[in-house]
């Protein structure tokens, strides 16, 4: 029952127009459903940058602050810790921080803005455990950051050793100093 008078080009034009408009409409309708699932204003507020006073951290010790639900380690390294950083560089996987695991201002040997203070995410790059900080040699054990889950080891700059499961150096979050002692973690811009 094919009617030869059917205007096929107009029919296909109509189908295309309706399909195009429906796509626009469905996209507009779906957009809020997608936005709904993103972090809410409350979650974004909780994920805001945190301020830390680094003056209370003693040499060779660590302070842990929570930022976006993860521990951030702030370590004040001793002179000998800093000196040790260049000793074992041939045992490291990425001694020059070539992998993008830090902001540009931390792409140096100490992986920090101030040489004595390391700011690093306490999340092992292998499977997300929190590495332990070992500042002094006890019973000949390894010093640096040691992950208890699968034995990954990192030096005092959070750089990963070769022959461990972790693939990359620990992440350095964006941070900046607002004065000598006050540190902002989570943002490196004046206005965040």
């Amino acid at each position: 029952m094919i009617d030869k008078k059917v205007n096929l080009s107009r029919r296909s034009w109509l189908i295309r127009t309706i399909s195009a408009l429906s796509t626009v409409g469905m996209t507009a309708w779906i957009t809020p459903f997608v936005k709904f699932l993103a972090p809410s204003a409350k979650a974004r507020g909780l994920g805001a940058p945190v301020e830390v006073d680094v003056s209370t951290i003693e040499e060779g010790s660590m302070k842990v602050v929570e930022w976006r639900g993860i521990p951030v380690y702030i370590i004040r390294r001793s002179r000998s810790d800093i000196a040790s950083l260049q000793k074992y560089e041939d045992e490291l996987k990425d001694p020059n921080s070539n992998t993008d695991q830090q902001p540009d201002y931390a792409r140096n040997r100490t992986r920090s803005i101030k040489p004595e203070i390391l700011v690093v995410e306490g999340v092992c790059t292998h499977l997300g455990c929190t590495p332990k900080y070992r500042s002094e040699k006890v019973d000949g054990l390894f010093t640096g950051l040691f992950c208890p889950c699968h034995g990954s080891t990192f030096d005092f700059a959070g750089r990963v050793y070769s022959n461990v499961p972790a693939p990359t150096n620990l992440r350095v979050p964006r941070h900046r100093y607002i004065d000598d002692d006050k540190l902002i973690i989570g943002s490196d811009r004046l206005v965040s």
Binding site: I18, G25, T31, P32, F33, K35, F36, L37, A38, S40, A41, K42
Partner: protein, 419 residues
Amino acid sequence: MASRLLKGHRFLRWVNERLPLEKAYKTHMSEYYAPRNFNFWYYFGILSMVVLFIQFVSGIWLTMQYTPDAEHAFDSIEYIMRDVSAGWFIRYMHEVGASFFFIVVYLHIFRGLLYGSYKEPRELLWLIGVAIYIVLMMEGFLGYMLPWGNMSYWGAKVVLSLIGAIPYIGESLQVWIQGDYQVSGVTLSRFFALHVTLIPILLIGLVFLHIIALHQVGSNNPEGIEIKLVKNKDGVPLDGIPFHPYYTVHDLIPIVVFLILFFGVIFYYPDGGGYFLEPPNFLPADNLSTPEHIAPVWYYTPFYAMLRAISFDFLGISAKFWGLVVMSGAIGLVAFLPWLDRSPAKSMRYKGWASRIMLALFTISFVTLGVLGAHPSDWMPFWMAPFFTLIYFAYFLGMPFYTSLENSKPVPQRISSGR
């Protein structure tokens, strides 16, 4: 005709050998013949499917941020409204959707009354429809409680107190349903569970049955003519046209118009002037203070007015219980329509004047009861609610008499080319 449809679609052919794709497509779309004379009143079936879909999706999304707990429910709604991206939009979509669901369902039911869609052979279709309506009322009631606003709380309390009116078992049944001596957080949690799982499953299952039953018997039409009685040699009804593409394309227009209205309300009148979302519900539930004026949401108000209309004890049983009987009777009687209507014609176009006048009076009384139920009981003279309740019941209980006594016009075999 064998698989012209699936020509060139290897994957679909593979599926079709294992799942009756083509058969389902033919039965329900390309070879489902609908009468060619559908009018305005036939839009509301598909529109209620559209709203059901919107409610389903927006409801799933709301569940992700809502907390069904008396301590946090109200705050979690405010959290959705203020802090969650687009939360206000999805919440208002669900809230306005509830009212629009009842608007389209009431118009859909009215269409059934107008054209006798409940009559043989569509009795079961009608019964499934009544079940959907009752389940939908339960869903609306459970859902209205979840924001845990003051009207949520007192609305639930009033309705649950009705259960307490059942003689002997009422009070213990009420406590069992509430899970506490009063409406409390326990009630809220179980209402949430029912609102998001059991009732939606029932609703979708019943809607599925409704459509299957419809496609088994075929649609009625404004003339009330059975198109299946006159077929061509291929068994195609002469007054029928394939559902797809004719009615699928045809229905796009009402869907677009509906969506414009629907989203217009969401953006400009999300509280429906206090009828879709009542002002006391912007305050948290307070079990020590009833709102100034307590009324259910508009879609329950006709039945609420009937409940209030019964104010006298009868046969030694309290007015409270009779109110419950009248209210549930008013809903239950709808299910008996196929057997109450004795007219040989289906459509009002061929029925006599008595049927037309009774339907008009019934509609007026239903709307009036709805308006009365939304206002305080001393808003209008007291006689009005009982009077219109009587008319409501007279429509049903008088039907066997006025439909068999009136003169109806003979129904033609074919849908005429004009109207």
